[in-house]
């Protein structure tokens, strides 16, 4: 630990490294913003100093919102993220509650299976899943991703909630049981209302994971009207070899904003969720 030495040492040990990490972490976002506000004449002129704006314009944003389906993609992304997060929280609770509170044969095995499924990456499953989705007739519908995102989100929510549930004291539930409440009633009326912070952590994580998902959306959604933001940006703002850089950067920035806003409101919950898996083990 640093013990209060001189200001020079503080610059070297604190501000230099922290400043470096901040610069590297944030430069791409700065670059997105600057690029999205430059007129094409400035964007593709090598003789202009590129790091600052000379003639800011909103043209790329206007083009993005009027000439592409960006708003439709944003709506689709939100809808899919919210619905699959809700489904995953409900199914996640149904897995985590018995594992956290009940004693029954096979509990250990189920807990390990849930953890293992959480760790199975999508590229292992996407080819057979594509066939399953086609056979179900869900190709090019939002149902395809609403159904498949929970395959990664349910084990994830269950795992995170399991950790959280174990930290909630049991006394209230015991009292309710003694008063004659059934198990379902105890869980719904007594236990779940105590777990709001856990739900917020798991919900934000699931929401950001849904917004980030690309592979399933790329395969299942090939019509512009059902695309999500990441797939729409890649598939429609890059046409052949032509890159619409101004619109691409505007789209990337606008697409990042919802996640960033939600994250900024709940950053403490996010960090708690992020670190609970590993720190508490």
């Amino acid at each position: 630990m640093v013990t209060g030495h001189g200001p020079v040492e503080r610059v070297v040990r604190l501000w230099l490294p922290v400043g470096f990490f901040l610069l590297v972490a944030l430069f791409p976002f700065y670059w997105m913003a600057v690029t999205s506000l430059k007129p094409n004449a400035e964007l593709y002129n090598k003789n202009v100093m590129p790091l600052v704006l000379h003639h800011p314009t909103l043209k790329h944003y206007i083009d993005l919102l009027t000439q592409t389906s960006f708003l439709v993609w944003t709506w689709n992304t939100m809808l899919v993220a919210i619905v699959s997060t809700a489904i995953s929280l409900v199914l996640g609770v149904m897995l985590a509650y018995p594992l956290a509170r009940m004693r029954f044969a096979g509990a250990g095995l189920i807990a390990m299976t849930v953890a293992a499924i959480y760790l199975v990456p999508q590229p292992l499953l996407f080819i057979p899943l594509a066939d399953v989705i086609n056979r179900l007739g869900l190709g090019n519908t939002l149902g395809a991703v609403i159904l498949t995102y929970p395959t990664m989100l349910v084990p994830f929510c269950a795992w995170l909630l399991l950790g959280y549930f174990k930290t909630v004291p049991m006394e209230l539930e015991e009292a309710a049981r003694i008063d004659g409440a059934g198990r379902l009633q105890t869980m719904r009326r007594i236990f779940l209302p105590l777990c709001t912070p856990g739900f917020i952590s798991a919900g934000i994580f699931a929401f950001t994971l849904s917004q980030n998902e690309f592979l399933y959306a790329l395969i299942f959604l090939t019509k512009s009207s059902v695309r999500t933001v990441p797939v729409g940006v890649i598939a429609e703002l890059i046409r052949g070899d032509v890159f619409y850089w101004g619109q691409l950067m505007a789209g990337a920035l606008l697409g990042s904003i919802p996640v960033a806003i939600i994250y900024s409101f709940f950053v403490e919950h996010y960090v708690a969720g992020l670190t609970s898996g590993s720190v508490k083990g």
């Binding site: 029954f104 199975v120 590229p123 059934g182 690309f214 697409g255 670190t275």
Partner: protein
């Protein structure tokens, strides 16, 4: 704790009545399995079944939109005789190893730098996590523009400090393309390491450092013999997590290079995608994807067992 509570609950409950339905539903095992049945069936249908079906597909010659014919291990033999497959294997291991080492070392440095008191610390921490929060595809598009062959801002900077024009072709040169995807993966994943390790650092009791200092330990010795051993379990878990998802990475490479130039950045996931979705050979594609399985099984088993023990 749970033993005591069961005794309490058991004592308060009337003797078990085997005939009553509500009594049966109240049993822990019955309640648990009924509760877990919907999510377990869901996972069995959409993870378990596709996984088994993927193995079946890998044993078939299965052009897209045609029925498959069983061909035994022919697809795996085709992998074995395909020089690109071996290049993909090497690429994936190089990519995973290099990115993991960079993230681990950089993340540790970030955590140590952040483990000091300074104003606006929480704001700085929130900003540092942004690369990890923002959808990968969108930040990768920004990197693509930073590395653009004609208008790269990185090259503008390099030329300004004396590198000869036109500067390196980041995505056009096989070696530089691999360096690029490794660096961008590191950029995105490093905050996850950093913030998780920082949380670990904050659990180290200050008395240990004080005791070590009294015993005459230097700063490096305190790090080596106090910090590092206490962080070791967290480092292991974070690393296993990140190795699994780096090994199976798709988005970054698909967007930035499409596996090029000349397959120099092709990974298992992007190659399986090209064969299955591009060339329409579902069977062969499934066999490429399954090539990830042995390594993933080892990693997942290690992490699952480790998480359970902790």
């Amino acid at each position: 704790m749970s033993v005591r509570s069961e005794l309490l609950v058991g004592a308060a409950r009337p003797p078990r009545q085997p005939a009553s339905l509500s009594g049966w539903l109240d049993r822990q095992s019955v309640f648990s399995w009924l509760m877990m049945a919907p999510p377990l069936l869901f996972l069995a249908a959409l993870v378990g079944y596709p996984f088994c079906y993927g193995i079946l597909l890998s044993l078939q010659d299965r052009p897209v939109a045609h029925p498959g014919t069983f061909v035994g291990l022919k697809n795996f033999a085709a992998n074995f005789n395909d020089p690109i497959f071996w290049q993909v294997t090497a690429n994936t291991f190089i990519y995973t190893a290099a990115a993991t080492v960079l993230k681990m070392v950089g993340g540790l440095a970030l955590a140590l730098a952040m483990n000091q008191q300074f104003p606006l610390k929480n704001l700085v921490r929130a900003l540092l996590l942004l690369p990890f929060i923002v959808p990968t595809v969108l930040s990768t598009v920004a990197w693509m523009w930073i590395l653009d062959p004609a208008f790269s801002v990185l090259n503008w900077f390099l030329i300004a400090v004396g590198v000869p024009k036109p500067g390196p072709s980041w995505l056009g040169n096989p070696v530089l393309a691999m360096v690029s995807i490794i660096v961008i993966n590191t950029w995105r994943g490093l905050p996850f390491y950093g913030i998780t390790l920082l949380a670990g650092l904050q659990t180290v009791p200050p008395e240990l450092y004080e005791a070590a200092t009294i015993d005459g330990a230097t700063g490096w010795q305190r790090f080596r013999f106090v910090t590092l051993p206490l962080l070791q379990p967290i480092i292991l878990i974070v690393t296993l997590f990140s190795v699994i998802f780096t090994f199976a990475d798709f988005q970054l490479v698909y967007v930035l290079t499409h596996g090029g130039p000349q397959n120099a950045t092709q990974l298992f996931a992007t190659y399986a995608f090209d064969i299955a979705m591009g060339a329409g050979q579902l069977g062969r594609g499934a066999a490429v994807a399954l090539a990830m399985f042995p390594a993933l099984v080892l990693l997942i088993a290690a992490l699952t067992v480790y998480l359970r023990r902790g």
